[in-house]
Amino acid sequence: MAKLREYEKYVGSDVIDELELYAGKLSGVVIQNINSTAVGGGVAEILMRMIPMLHELGVNAIWDVIKGGERFFEVTKKMHNALHGQKITFTQEELDLYAQTNEMNAREMNLRGDIIFIHDPQPCALVDRKKDLGRKWIWRCHIDFSSPDPFTWNFLKEYIEQYDVGVFSAPSFARELSIPQVLISPSIDPLSDKNRELLQEVIDSVLERFKIDKNRPIVTQISRFDYLKDPVGVVQVFRQVRRYVDCQLVLAGGGATDDPEGAKVLAEVQEIANNDPDVFLLLLPPASDIEINALQRASSVILQKSLREGFGLTVAEALWKSKPVIAGAVGGIPLQIVHKHSGLLTHTIEGTAFALRQLLQNPSFAKALGENGREHVRKNFLITRHLRDYLLLFLSLEHKGEDIVYL
């Protein structure tokens, strides 16, 4: 695990010094994180990196995981999909199971934090204990909340409004709530395999392995084979552009083989790609961070033509590699791309194709966008900024309603 001081080379020693300053104000405060899984998934990944960093700063952060049976997690998976906007019906038995599992965990867990930091919907109902325990409670929503299924939203809202504060990843996820809502974007780790610098030989060997020509422009989208990432639209964009500019398309992602919808989407993409030797559809296994890193670094332009997006951290990953990015203006993407400054935001296949032609044929404009993008990510989307926001969030709990807090 990387030490905080290793990030100095990216953000400067002053930024790390100041993290120590903020953390010093949390002396003696116990922060108890609670989520639903110790391994796998984005939340566990974030906590695995955040907790050691908080310890390094002298903050007493702990992490507990709720227990639940298979049926409970089926219900919470349904909730997750419903919060993403799918119309899903719940039986009373399912809702009761959700509440009872949370009650059981609330009884059995040692809720010892001064600040209890709950992640995502699965343990959200633990907050019922706030009535008798007191303490400060934070609910951190890591998922796309832009148009949740109304029934599921109203069910969860009863719990969410018991918290002291809710935390969301993008402005479009804000809801009408009686509690304050804080914006904290997720982040990338510049020292992780997915983002660290790679030797040119490593990049070349990945291209060779997939038989991609390193001497011709490469246009890449990294994403699951999912309708919401519009891979079919990406192939159509490529078709329109290649009439004018010689290039190759790489669509790389994982998780299709065991996902019935993913397999269907992949089949559609294969059909439209029609064995085009310049279209590379790469199904990558889960541990492919180096490959993804190499493909991004080898690309001339990166697309993220999503129709819906949680936050879209693949955009930050691409920008961090100084790549020009064209992306759909959904979820957290408009936070990452300032249109025409640090990338291009588009809404249609035709618009994306036009933007792609512009970037492929104007390398100096593309380079400027990429360089601005890296600087934007350096300032706003690295893990050190994420850590800073969490420290401020913890401090804010003692200063509700104050515009300026002198510490």
């Binding site: 002053d14 402005p171 479009s172 809801r175 804080v182 914006l183 759909g328 025409k340 515009d403 510490l407």
Partner: protein
């Protein structure tokens, strides 16, 4: 001027936590209504956070309203007018708000129907708030040389606090006030006051401030300012 500083300069730093209000605007009339009604902390956020978050873009649009009007609503003329509001002229957020309202209302008065165009889905204007946390740092300056050394080491957030936020607290940058009151460096204080911090990056501003001090120190060494 005095040889011995009266009191040292304590460097502070500050950070903002951003709050979502849940309020959004799809077009110019909705933006205007929001600007009129949101708390001043929201006006502060949207006119100042750009300076830090998009620092590398400076001197591009210095406030969120201008960026959104120009690049999302595609009204380049009004966007330019909002971008060019000189924040240096205003010392309260209330006055900044009034000026922005005045500029937008003036534009709409001529042709109200032309301003009904909606932003594309997903690119609405989201009103936000800022809560500011101010922390003392370990940096303290007792002399001009100390002051320069501290300026080289403090974060850009500290410079931001003493230059931008100070103007809203006490009309002038903390640096200018201290240089004049404690070091008697009236000329240097005046030079600092005349800088336009809104049209350069914070790192550029740091270098400019340090450059002015270095020039002053050289003058001192050459004996032009015998009282340093």
């Amino acid at each position: 001027m005095s040889l011995v500083p009266n009191e040292p300069f304590y460097f502070f730093t500050r950070q903002n936590l951003t709050y979502l209000t849940g309020r959004k605007a799809r077009n110019l009339p909705e933006l205007l209504a929001g600007i009129k009604e949101v708390p001043t902390s929201s006006i502060y956020h949207h006119t100042h956070h750009y300076l830090e978050q998009h620092e590398f873009l400076s001197p591009e649009p210095p406030n969120d309203f201008a960026y959104w009007i120009t690049d999302i609503l595609q009204d380049k003329v009004l966007g330019e007018k909002v971008a060019s509001i000189d924040l240096r002229e205003f010392f309260t957020l209330h006055d900044i708000r009034s000026r922005i309202i005045e500029v937008i209302e003036h534009a709409m008065r001529g042709n109200p129907n032309a301003f009904q165009q909606n932003a594309p889905n997903g690119e609405e204007f989201h009103f936000m708030n800022a809560q500011t946390f101010v922390f003392p740092t370990k940096y303290v300056a007792h002399s001009l040389i100390d002051f320069k050394e501290c300026l080289e080491k403090v974060s850009i957030y500290s410079i931001y606090y003493h230059v931008f936020e100070a103007r809203l607290r006490r009309k002038f940058s903390d640096f200018s006030i201290w240089l004049a009151a404690s070091l008697g460096e009236d000329e240097l204080a005046q030079e600092f006051m005349e800088l336009d911090p809104y049209t350069q990056t914070l790192e550029n501003l740091r270098r400019t401030l340090i450059g002015h001090i270095e020039t002053r120190l050289k003058e001192g060494i050459r004996g032009k300012a015998s009282r340093i």
